[in-house]
Symmetry: C2
Subunit: 121 residues, 2 copies
Amino acid sequence: MEIKKVNLESKLQSFNEYWSPRVVGKLNNQLVKIAKFKGNFIMHHHENEDELFFVLNGKLFIELQDKTMELCAGEFVIIPKGVEHRPYAPEEVNVMLFEPETTLNTGNINNNMTKFDLDNI
Amino acid sequence: MEIKKVNLESKLQSFNEYWSPRVVGKLNNQLVKIAKFKGNFIMHHHENEDELFFVLNGKLFIELQDKTMELCAGEFVIIPKGVEHRPYAPEEVNVMLFEPETTLNTGNINNNMTKFDLDNI
């Protein structure tokens, strides 16, 4: 397999859909994803997977049970498995995610926001 | 364990040593590290670990057996296990690394650049 670099800005320009992560890398059974968020997501947790949210630009809010976190570009947070969380973004935010291949975006919830087959871009 | 966000810029300001990764996060038996590189590293490979280099600022070169890659801020590359690589940086570059907990910076080589016990910052 050819080793290629990934330019996140150019990958971000290739789609517009919100709450629909794209896969941009795979290593050690983990996926690197990027996503655009705007508006409200659902409260959920992941039974077996810790999840990293890294903000590339914009501002991301993550509501937890006892507080709400606010993340700007260059900041990340790791949400441990089992922890309820709800991402939201009043304005568009672009994020990079690190998580195991098994991770579903809506965790323990299946609804119309659930994405089963993510595009590799 | 309290969930805290990590600001990479402020973590980067907390150390100056080159080629000495610091651990800034842990998830799913993987580590998130940051490092400052300047000058030449050694050619090496990792027997069992794929390794991701994400450039935060500056310019990173990675020499492979058949080409040399040049990465700028916002770009990453995944070096699969077994692949010989040599990072170098004529000027300081700051990078984020994503790799399994078992990963040694010099891979299959043990020398005076090998770092065994990484600081958590």
